[in-house]
């Protein structure tokens, strides 16, 4: 049992998090995930029905009846859990089938399921790169990629966000390495912008490098048929490694994968520690995810609706006078720059029936606080019309409508 002194040290660490405004609190949801949810906030208050503008439920499939039915069927047919890692006695026929259908959907040679995309990113670099190699990452890649890179012995380097000139300099600089891997998100989770994958692939081919893309915020809806950023940028089949999640558009429960060149996926199967040392993705999730792939392969209706919703919502915000980060994805950040302002606006929006969260350092750079709004195919136009009314009302209260960065910073500080 630890001493009072040790306890005090931890208590004081938590108190510091509160003091500097970095303490995160759960909001308890009393309903399934959807365009509208019932939220208990603050804890202990009666739940309120609010419009959800901050989930990764891009395709609105998290609570889709066909997906739920498939999950039930999977549970009945293959049980609740495997009580094993994959390579001992945890691989079922449905794991193989889902991996095959993911490869078909993503246009890759092979796929390996992981418990999450966080795990996929934690394991993939160490499995395929060594000391003689270099990883050259966009400076805004997701935290899970950063953690995965830390676990790998290859040299690390970075290039300025989406700056192709800087990437080219780095590729030239590292020609002495055995393997160069360019690492990027497909859609950047905090800014919502799309990687210039066509240019990245061209540079990688010019300088003999492989390309890694985390398409977690793209799989299922970016690109004309929702294959992802590689489809959007016209480079299907030219990405060496894709990691993605089943925890966002593709059902929203959990699970992720590494997909790409056959031999790279095989090395992950042999060596990736999060794959080797954690349980198989449970049958219920595998069965539901297979249904998701079937649904979105059959029709692009849901991704088309999402695309319409995103364009409509972006237009409403811009016309209302909010400072919106430019982009072309269902992630639409409303820039507020000041951390306290972002939290205050989010709190007021909740009172007005819209659930959003303020993001600030260290999740985004200092002085770049924002409210990240996210669209879903589950939203109807009426949801967005109601949400914009709340945004406009709150925007007027804070007198931020029509203001740009300099004016907001002048009034509220960084």
């Amino acid at each position: 049992m630890y001493s009072a002194k040790t306890r005090d040290a931890y208590t004081s660490e938590i108190a510091t998090l509160r003091e500097v405004g970095l303490f995160k609190e759960d909001r308890f949801i009393h309903s399934p995930q959807g365009a509208e949810i019932e939220v208990e906030f603050p804890s202990g208050e009666p739940p309120r029905r609010v419009i959800n503008m901050c989930s990764n439920n891009y395709l609105g499939l998290s609570s889709h009846p066909d997906v739920i039915a498939a999950a039930h069927a999977g549970l009945d047919a293959r049980g609740y859990g495997m009580s094993s890692v994959r390579f001992i006695c945890g691989t079922q026929d449905i794991h193989r089938e889902l991996e095959k259908s993911l490869s078909g959907f993503l246009g890759t040679e092979d796929t390996l399921l992981f418990p999450s995309c966080m795990d996929a990113n934690a394991g993939v670099f160490e499995a395929i790169l060594g000391e003689q190699d270099v990883m050259i990452a966009d400076r805004l890649v997701h935290a899970s990629i950063v953690d995965g890179m830390r676990l790998c012995k290859a040299m690390t380097d970075t290039f300025k966000h989406s700056d192709m000139g800087h990437l080219e300099e780095k590729l030239q600089e590292h020609q002495d390495k055995r393997v160069r891997m360019v690492i990027t998100d497909g859609v950047f989770s905090m800014d919502g912008d799309i990687a210039k994958l066509d240019e990245i692939v061209a540079l990688a081919e010019k300088y003999d490098a492989m390309v890694f893309v985390d398409d977690s915020h793209a799989s299922g809806f970016i690109g004309k048929t929702g294959r992802g950023t590689h489809e959007h940028c016209g480079v299907l089949g030219r990405i060496d490694v894709i990691t993605t999640t089943l925890g966002k558009a593709l059902g929203g429960a959990s699970g992720g994968c590494v997909s790409g060149r056959r031999e790279l996926v095989e090395l992950c199967r042999q060596r990736a520690r999060p794959y080797l040392f954690s349980n198989s993705v449970p049958p219920v999730i595998v069965a539901a995810a297979a249904k998701v792939i079937e649904l979105i392969s059959r029709t692009t209706e849901r991704r088309d609706k999402l695309e319409w919703n995103a364009a409509y919502w972006r237009r409403l915000l811009v016309e209302a006078g909010f400072d919106v980060k430019a982009g072309n994805s269902p992630i639409v950040p409303v820039m507020l720059y000041n951390a306290k302002l972002a939290q205050d606006v989010a709190r007021r929006l909740f009172a007005e029936g819209v659930h959003v969260v303020g993001f600030f350092f260290p999740v985004v750079p200092k002085g770049a606080a924002r409210i990240r709004t996210q669209l879903s195919a589950a939203h109807d136009q009426a949801h967005l019309d109601r949400a914009i009314e709340a945004f406009v009302k709150v925007g007027r209260e804070f007198e931020i409508l029509g203001l740009g960065k300099n004016e907001i910073v002048a009034r509220f500080g960084m």
Binding site: A137, R139, V146, M149, M155, T156, D157, T158, K160, H161, K170, E173, F361, P362, P365, K366
Partner: protein, 85 residues
Amino acid sequence: MDELKKVILDYVVKEYLEEGDDRVVGADTPLITGGIVDSFSMVSLKRFLERRYEIRIPDGEATPDAFDSVDRIALLVERFRAVKA
């Protein structure tokens, strides 16, 4: 500011500040703790210094603390230049 610090400062501004980033960086500005340079990106600065000054900075010496300002980096470089001499 001496030549060494100027070279380091120029590299930091060119390599780490994005276009439109109007932060003023001086010799004593915190780089790592100030969020200007992250630990991954620090590698390129170390490589630059090693090439430019023909020195070898062991990984154990290239700590975030030692790289936290242009002043500190200059001290580190001077130490290894002296070793080389």
